[in-house]
Symmetry: C3
Subunit: 276 residues, 3 copies
C-alpha cells in the first residue's frame, strides 16, 4: 500500500499516480493533496494526524518549497512503515508517532535517496519521489538496505533528535493552574483552530467558561452542546484544545490564524464572567 499526500492541488497528483502504477501494483490511497501550500509544518502536522492510522505502508509525502535546490530526498523507516519525501522535516512528526506506537526501543532510521538529474526541476513529486516510493514498496520496508539508490544516513530514538536530516518539532505549550500559553498549530477546513494546548488542560471543566486571549467561550464535548453560531472550546480528535464555533468558523470568530499566540485562561474567564 502506498499513500499519497501533497500540496499539489489538482491534477498534478495524477501524474504521480501514473508513475507509481507503471512501477507497482500497490494499492494507492490518497491522504490529501490540498495541504497548505509549501507549509512544511502544516504538512507535518496533518501527516502525523493521519498516517499513523494506516496499516504498514509506504507514505509518499511531498510538501517541498525547496524543490529544485540541493535539498536531499530521504526515506524514513518507522516501525513497519516507510515515509518518502524531501528532507525538510515534513516526514518526522508522523514517523516519530508511528515509531512510538510500534513498541519499545523503536528507532527512526533515515536513508538518503540518490537520483539522476530529473526531467523537471519543479515537479520532483513525479520525477523523484514517486519513483523512490515505488522502489521502496517493491523492495519492502524491511529491506531498504538492499536498495541501491538508498544509503543509510542516521538513526535516532523516538525521544531523540536527528543530526543529519532536518528535524521538525511542534512547540510545547506552557501549562499552569491558571492558564495555558501556546500557539495555533493549524486551522482546518471547518475553520476549527487547533492549538498546541494539551486537551488534558480542559479535564473536568466541561460546562465551565474559559477565556481564549481574553474572549470567553464555553468548554463543551460536542458542537451541538452550544447554540448555533456560538463559540466553544473543546478537545479535538488529535487531543489538543480547539477553538470552534458550532456551524461556524472558529478562526473568524476568535480572530486566530496559524502561528498566533493563544492564552487559554480559567481565572480570567471567571473574572470576566464576574464583571458581566
Amino acid at each position: 500500500m502506498i499513500t499519497l499526500a501533497s500540496d499539489f492541488g489538482s491534477p498534478y497528483p495524477a501524474a504521480m499516480k501514473g508513475v507509481l502504477l507503471r512501477r507497482t501494483d500497490a494499492r494507492l490511497v490518497d491522504v490529501a493533496h490540498d495541504f497548505p501550500r509549501q507549509d512544511v509544518r502544516a504538512g507535518a502536522f496533518w501527516c502525523r494526524e493521519t498516517l499513523p492510522y494506516f496499516p504498514p505502508a509506504v507514505h509518499l509525502v511531498v510538501v517541498d518549497p525547496g524543490v529544485g535546490t540541493d535539498r536531499d530526498a530521504i526515506v524514513v523507516r518507522a516501525g513497519e512503515h516507510a515515509l518518502v519525501g524531501p528532507d525538510n522535516g515534513v516526514l518526522l512528526p508522523a514517523a516519530r508517532r508511528i515509531a512510538a506506537e510500534s513498541g519499545t526501543g523503536a528507532r527512526i532510521e533515515c536513508f538518503s535517496y540518490a537520483y539522476d538529474d530529473p526531467d523537471s526541476s519543479t515537479f520532483h513529486g513525479r520525477d523523484v519521489f514517486a519513483p523512490a516510493a515505488a522502489a521502496v514498496h517493491e523492495a519492502g520496508v524491511d529491506a531498504l538496505e538492499s536498495v541501491d539508490s538508498l544509503s543509510p544516513v542516521e538513526s535516532f530514538a523516538v525521544d531523540g533528535a536527528p543530526d543529519a536530516v532536518v528535524g521538525c518539532r511542534f512547540p510545547d505549550a506552557e501549562v499552569s493552574a491558571d492558564e495555558a500559553r501556546g500557539e495555533v498549530l493549524v486551522v482546518d477546513d471547518f475553520g476549527n483552530v487547533i492549538t498546541n494546548v494539551p486537551g488534558s488542560y480542559l479535564d473536568g471543566r466541561e460546562g465551565e467558561t474559559v477565556a481564549v486571549n481574553g474572549e470567553s467561550a464555553a468548554v463543551a464535548r460536542a458542537f451541538a452542546a452550544v447554540d448555533e453560531g456560538a463559540r466553544l472550546v473543546t478537545v479535538g480528535s488529535h487531543g489538543y484544545v480547539e477553538c470552534d464555533v458550532n456551524r461556524g468558523r472558529g478562526d473568524e470568530s476568535f480572530g486566530l490564524a496559524p502561528g498566533d499566540d493563544v492564552v487559554v485562561s480559567v481565572s480570567s474567564a471567571r473574572n470576566a464572567a464576574d464583571r458581566t
Copy 2:
C-alpha cells in the same frame, strides 16, 4: 466494497481510510467529502443520487451535526447494501431508493450499533463509524444479525416510515396544469438549482418558455441549446426540474438557494411573453 461520503473536507477522511484498512481489505471508493457542512438533508439527497448506482456495498456516510451527543449510530440494510452512519435521517433516502430498486416486498432494516466510549467526542467518523463499517463489511451484509455490536431496531416497508430511527423525506411539489409549486432541494457545484418539481412537468414543453418565480427561461434538453450565459430550465440527471445557466451559475441568475420556494409556471410565462 466500502464507499465513503462525508462533509469532512480534507484531510480527515484519510484517518477514516486508515482505520478501515487496518480492519479490512475491502476496496474503498470515495463518493465525496465536500457535502454541505452539517446539512443532513443535502447529504441525504446526494447519497440518494449516487449510492444506488453502486453494486452491493457498505456505504459509510458521515454528516453528523450531533457528534458527541447521545444520537445513535445505526446500520441500515437495504437490498444487498448496508449503510452506516448517524441516526439523523441521512441514510434513509438512499436506503429507500436502493430497497425500491431491489425488488418487490423489500424492506428497510435498521440496526443500532453499540460502541465503547470513543477516543474523541468530535470525530466519530474515525472512532465509531469507520470501525462499524469495517465490522459490517467483514461480517457480510446478509449476516448483520450475527454481529455482536448490532441490535435490530425496526424494519419498515419501502413506502412506510420509521418509528424508532430518525426519518428523512424530501417534500413533494404541488403540480397543477398551470404551475408547479415546490422548493429548491440543493444547488450543485455548477450552481445548478435542483428543485423538487418532477421532470415530467416539462414533458412536451421543450422549446417553450416557462416562468420560474416570475422570471422567464427556455425549456431545453441541453445546455448548448441556449446561448452562453442564457437561462434554461431542464430535467436534471436526477429527474427533477433544474434551473440552470449555460456556462454560468443558475443560483446567481435565478437568485435561488436551498430551501427557497419555487413556482414554475407555464401560463404566467405565456402572459409575460405576451406582454413583452
Copy 3:
C-alpha cells in the same frame, strides 16, 4: 485500469464510479474532476500532461459542453491505451502523445460509440461514457473491433490530422533570437502561468533577467532561487515556459489569464535593466 477525468466537481463522479463498478472489477484511478468547467482546451491540456504517465489503461474523460446535443461519443485508441469521451477534441492531444511515445508508425484510431437514448440529457458521463468505458475495458483495448457498439471512423498518423472527428491542437509559439511570442495555455492551481513557449527558449539563461510582456523576471530553475513573493520565469514540468511567483500567484503578479498573448523577450529585459 480505468482512469477518470472530468469537470464534474463533486459528487457527480461518484455516480460514474458506481456505474463502472457494476460492469467491471477494473482498478479505478481519479485523475481530476476539477478541470476548468466546459473548457475543452484546458481539459485536453491536462489530459496530455497526466494520462501518458499511466501504464496501459482506459481513460474516461468528460469535458462536454455539448452534452445533450448530437455530438458523438468516441473511443480513441493510441498505443495500448484507449480514451473514451465526447467528440470535441478533448481526447486528442493526450492520444497523440501516448501514440508518439508508443513507437514508430503508431496511428491514432477513432471509433464511434453507439448508444441508446440515455436516462438523462445532461449527465452522459454517467449514462453514456461510463458504460462505454466499462465496455472498452471488458473487451480489451486490442479488441475494440469486436465491440458491437463501436464502429471504426478513421485513423491517422501521429503527425497527421483527423478528418471525421473533431481535432484539437495547441498553438505553436513563434520563437526568434530576441523574443518568443506565444500565449497562455492554462493557469494551474498554484497560479502558475503555463505558456506555449518551449522551455528550450530559456536554455543557458539561468540567472538572467527576461521580460514578460515588458515586465522583468529572473530566469530560475527553482522557486526557492528567488525571494519569497518574487517573480520567476522557469521551465515547468511539462516543458513549457512558466511565469511564476515563489510562494505567490504568477497569474496575479503577471496579470495573465488563459488565452492571453505572451511575449518573452531577452533584449527588452536587458534594455529595461540598462535603463534601471
